[in-house]
Subunit: 336 residues, 2 copies
DNA sequence: CTGAAAGCGCTTACAG
DNA sequence: CTGAAAGCGCTTACAG
């Protein structure tokens, strides 16, 4: 645990002043090539490692991005977080990640902690309800912050919002099922009062209405367990239903296993479209039709947008919705 | 983006010296209660936020934990990372996470970056092959570091290793299948030359040998896709096989969907035991028997062990294996 | 119990 | 192109 060498040691070793070393470290064009070489050699010999805390103190950016996720265990968010993190890393930024587990108190705590650590930016997929005081502290600290996938704070002029165009996804899915001849179509999963449920359901509701079909909603936790439960319930008590648009693939996968248990053949006896198109959906049997949001790509883009903001000062638009796409597979088309 | 207040501002506001403010910030017992109150009030009024970079510079610990994961998208590792992170957060530590995606170069890069950021400790689930130079730099920097789930560096005296007792899991699974009357049992999934494959297979091999049964291995990527492929292959060309111990639940779930496709009834025509017991396994149909490693608990424990190390100086043992447990479900027992 | 001073390792004008 | 000096916001002995 001997003390790490500092730029002063490097300067001495290279026979230059410490300012020069600092300039080399910043890839300044002001330094002569031979000097740069000398410094590089000295750094190598001494095993010098740059101390960002010290640099940050003097004004430079910390190069730390705060990524706050409401549910990191959900593959949908994992994919987003991992992609964003890797994009940041490829540009030399480190990512401080925190999982809030939908707990606003934890969210407040981690935000405060990250502010203390001097993060250069925040990317937040927030909890539904929130303590705004932490958000206010972010604003006061003047830290560039994007809300993604969920919107907590309505001031999108301060905290730009980006997400997928869920409404259009619901439309695509519902139209697809109607095209296949279904008319009794349910919407399954998603807690009733949540904005994201409303968004994902809105396309469904709209298409059902415009086709003069009666909407049917089964609201509940967006989990496999709930999907399975609803499948069994439908099999028992709602034999008239022919198809479902699900709140998420997790719900849809749950329905798949529920129907398998009940002996219902999905794709023939009952048609299902999921939402998110997580990796698993293309691998289960029967293959799950799903509204693809391409969260990996979204994570990458969100990171790029944020980098453009903090590096080039290019502020993102207040609100941005990325297109979604319907992937048709066996669970709606049938087994061919 | 006005400048944040510093302890000097707080001191002025509270009418004390900045040393006193610093002591209050550190919860020192040396400060009179009334003074503490005054300072707290001033902090509140000014909206002061502690600057850890500055503190770190002068010697205090950064309170930043570096968590490096080989595959963050795999639910097994996600669960581990999320649990560890939340444990750290509950003790006031922030976690810098990086996903290396099994790429040793990325691993080297993020390690270096985290050293620059002055992390107080590393918890690493490493890539299989690795560039040791980064590890050497960790050692040189004297940063407490644990290897978890996979061992890259053999110097466990420097970098303690913790994992599950995989060998015993393989034994439990194989004995269970034999007890059910199977004798032609395959081991499916896992790349042949990897230490973790060897570990997970060793229990299987041992039990097969001691029962004078011939082992059969299908080695390949530990993915759903590979599991599915092997299931179809077994159905085509290896009808004599009665059961499989899988390298991971992902592989087992892939087999489940492959057999479903082939019309083979798992639990009756063919018995399967997975490995990891991820959440999904208790929800699919048929329910998947699996060797439970309880990665969430493991993540929590790993974090606790690390905290004991950096807070109380209690160095963990060189090597530690946590018990695993066999969860018997329909995929091996049958559908009752 | 509190204050004045030095210093942590960098960057940033400012001279030269 | 390079050096000397000041300062970023804290903590840490050291006095008092």
């Amino acid at each position: 645990m001997k003390k790490r060498p500092t730029i002063l040691d490097v300067a001495r070793q290279a026979g230059v002043s410490k300012s020069t070393v600092s300039l080399v470290l910043q890839n300044s064009t002001l330094v002569k090539e031979t000097t740069r070489k000398d410094v590089a050699t000295a750094i190598e010999e001494l095993g010098y490692v740059y101390n960002r805390s010290a640099a940050g103190l003097r004004g430079a950016t910390s190069g730390l991005i705060g990524l706050i996720i409401n549910d990191l265990r959900n593959p949908f968010f994992t994919e987003f977080a991992a992609s964003a993190q890797m994009m940041f890393a490829s540009k030399g930024y480190s990512t401080v990640i925190a999982n809030t587990d939908e707990d606003p108190e934890i969210q407040t705590q981690v935000i405060d902690s990250m502010i203390e650590h001097g993060v250069s930016a925040f990317v937040i997929s927030p909890t539904y309800t929130g303590d705004k005081s932490a958000i206010d502290r972010i604003e006061r600290a003047g830290i560039p912050t994007m809300q993604v996938l969920r919107q907590l704070d309505e001031r999108t002029d301060l905290f730009p919002f980006a997400s997928h165009n869920y409404a259009s996804g619901g439309e695509l899915a519902t139209n697809h099922l109607i095209d296949l001849g279904c008319s009794n179509i349910a919407f399954v999963g998603g807690l009733e009062d949540r904005p994201i449920t409303l968004e994902r359901m809105s396309g469904y509701s709209k298409v059902m209405a415009s086709n003069a079909l009666a909407p049917r909603a089964f609201h509940g936790r967006p989990s496999r367990a709930y999907g399975r439960e609803v499948a069994l319930r439908i099999h028992e008590d709602h034999r008239d239903l022919q198809a479902a648009v699900c709140f998420s693939d997790l719900v849809a996968l749950g329905m798949l296993s529920g129907f398998a248990e009940a002996g219902v053949q999905v794709g023939k006896d009952f048609r299902i479209v999921g939402f998110d198109d997580i990796e698993e959906s293309s691998l289960v049997y029967p293959r799950l039709s799903s509204v693809r949001c391409d969260t990996g790509l979204f994570g990458k883009r969100a990171a790029e947008v944020m980098l453009a903001w903090i590096v080039d000062g290019k502020r993102p638009p207040d609100r941005k919705r990325y297109d979604v796409e319907l992937i048709k597979r066996q669970s709606s088309l049938g087994l061919d």
